[in-house]
């Protein structure tokens, strides 16, 4: 998606909604609703009919059948009369001179009367689309039926076919958005968990402790009971200097949204977690600072997974844990000075606790999940050093 400038007032105008549908069926076509040429011919009526009549007919036809070029045809003949009326409105219907040419919807406002079967291309301007969306929302996205939408929009120049195909694209686009957002949400959720789980450990386990580069504290101490047996190994990056403050931020957010852990991230069809706006088309991830407020139509959120400024460290799996919303980073921006991680002296009590736990609960997952050394290697080496048995009986 291009970088839209959301602050600009008339950005609606600057958006060509057609671009959003790039890759989708070009032209005003509902692929599964297309009819054969032969069938079309059956319903072909000469182009000289009265516009009023033809509209009626249109409605009839549309109810009985699926849309086809014929209607556009009728529309074009009646166009001249209506076009003046609708001049002010942003609805522009254009007639491409050839069917193959001009699939793009850039041509605007030509109210030429082309006889014969022509596909009338609807120019979905921002204003038009906004009305469309309004109508859809009113009806409910899933229940929105083209004929009703048409009624609600009250624009004569649009046919049910136009609406239907636009609706199809709209729905498909929404799904896509939804999926992306759900994925994004679940990533950041997991991230919050990680940090949220870590924060108490970081606080409790020795205040001067330097929290490791790879966010090791996340899988902190065994007492932390990590939410899932998941390998934080991947986190070995170089952390940003604002590692410390961020931990606090994460805690806060952790408090806000305690979602259940999910692993791995399936793009779930479910709505994203509570904080998000349920109306996805207008939605924005609440933590994204540059998000649009609801009500601005048609803004597909460019959910680019933002990362910590970590240099790529090999071994990090593709679905990096480091996805972070910029808002998160912005929040603690005030306190950028890292806590001087000079020494690491954990208190004796915490050490004892840790060791005690290690001894008592060996089944717990390893804090870092490093690959275990080869047993043989270790044994051989130890024997070389003169240690025959382990555990040794004396220190």
């Amino acid at each position: 998606m291009e970088g839209f400038d959301f602050s600009c007032e008339n950005f609606l105008d600057s958006i060509d909604f057609d671009d959003l549908f790039v890759g989708m069926e070009e032209g005003d076509v509902l692929p599964d609703l297309e009819m054969d040429a032969e069938m079309l011919a059956e319903f072909s009526v000469s182009g000289g009919e009265d516009s009023a009549l033809s509209f009626e007919r249109l409605e009839d036809n549309s109810r009985k059948l699926l849309e086809h070029d014929e209607e556009e045809d009728k529309l074009s003949s009646g166009e001249e009369t209506v076009s003046k009326r609708y001049d002010e409105s942003v609805v522009t219907v254009s007639n491409p001179s050839t069917k193959e040419g001009e699939k793009g919807r850039k041509s605007s406002g030509q109210s030429k009367n082309h006889p014969g079967k022509r596909k009338v291309k609807v120019d979905w301007t921002p204003e038009l689309h906004r009305r469309f969306v309004q109508a859809v929302e009113q009806l409910g996205v899933d229940k929105a039926v083209p004929s009703r939408i048409l009624e609600l929009m009250g624009i004569d120049c649009l046919t049910r076919h136009n609406i239907a195909s636009h609706l199809q694209k709209y729905r498909s686009h929404r799904k896509h958005l939804l999926a992306r957002e759900a994925e994004a949400a679940s990533w950041s959720q997991r991230r919050h968990q990680m940090y949220g789980a870590a924060a108490p450990a970081a606080g409790g386990g020795g205040s001067k402790r330097d929290n490791g580069p790879w966010l090791a504290p996340i899988m902190g101490f065994p007492p932390m009971a990590p939410v899932h047996h998941f390998r934080p190994l991947h986190v070995w990056g170089h952390p940003p200097p604002m590692d410390q403050p961020l931990l606090h931020v994460w805690t806060k957010h952790m408090a806000l949204s305690p979602p259940p852990p999910t692993w791995p991230p399936p793009p779930s069809p479910h709505p994203p977690p509570p904080p998000s706006d349920p109306s996805f088309w207008h939605s924005h991830h609440p933590r994204v600072p540059n998000s649009l407020t609801p009500g601005t139509p048609f803004f597909p959120q460019p959910l680019v997974p933002k990362r910590f400024p970590t240099p790529p460290v090999p071994g990090i799996p593709p679905h990096a844990m480091f996805k972070v919303e910029p808002g998160m980073i912005a929040a603690p921006a005030g306190q950028t000075s890292p806590r001087p991680p000079l020494d690491f002296h954990p208190s004796k009590e915490s050490i004892d606790a840790v060791i005690g736990d290690a001894l008592a609960k060996p089944w717990q997952p390893l804090p870092l999940g490093l690959k275990p050394p080869s047993l043989d290697g270790v044994m051989v080496e130890l024997q070389r050093q003169g240690i025959q048995k382990i555990p040794p009986t004396c220190t």
């Binding site: 020795g206 402790r209 330097d210 490791g212 580069p213 790879w214 090791a216 504290p217 902190g220 101490f221 190994l233 070995w236 990056g237 170089h238 460290v313 090999p314 071994g315 001087p340 991680p341 000079l342 690491f344 954990p346 004796k348 050490i351 004892d352 840790v354 060791i355 290690a358 001894l359 060996p362 390893l366 804090p367 870092l368 999940g369 490093l370 690959k371 275990p372 050394p373 080869s374 047993l375 290697g377 270790v378 044994m379 080496e381 130890l382 050093q385 240690i387 048995k389 382990i390 555990p391 040794p392 220190t395």
Partner: protein, 96 residues
């Protein structure tokens, strides 16, 4: 004996990982484990080295990180002492 060795080594690995969470060096780790868990430094050292072999990338990053932090520490220390110096000068020269 095999089983208990494995378990033991596993435990040592766990403890080493904990130490890594504290950003300890190998030597510090050896000392800590010896002091608190009665683990012979040689054992700690061996397990550490083997872990290093198995997790080369991790340890490379770890080491690098530690070094970076060390130099950061230095810089901070120097700035700190500089500030102290400056502030003390101010106080000295302050007559009002």
């Amino acid at each position: 004996m095999g089983d208990s060795s494995a378990a033991y080594i596993h435990m040592v690995q766990r403890l080493i990982e904990e130490c890594i969470l504290f950003n300890m060096s190998r030597e510090e780790c050896m000392e800590a484990l010896s002091k608190h868990a009665n683990i012979k430094p040689v054992i700690t050292s061996t397990v550490w080295k083997e872990l290093e072999k198995e997790n080369k990338e991790f340890f490379e990053a770890y080491t690098k990180r530690r070094e970076e932090r060390a130099s950061e520490m230095d810089a901070i220390q120097r700035i700190h002492s500089l500030l102290l110096e400056t502030s003390s000068k101010d106080t000295n020269g302050n007559d009002a």
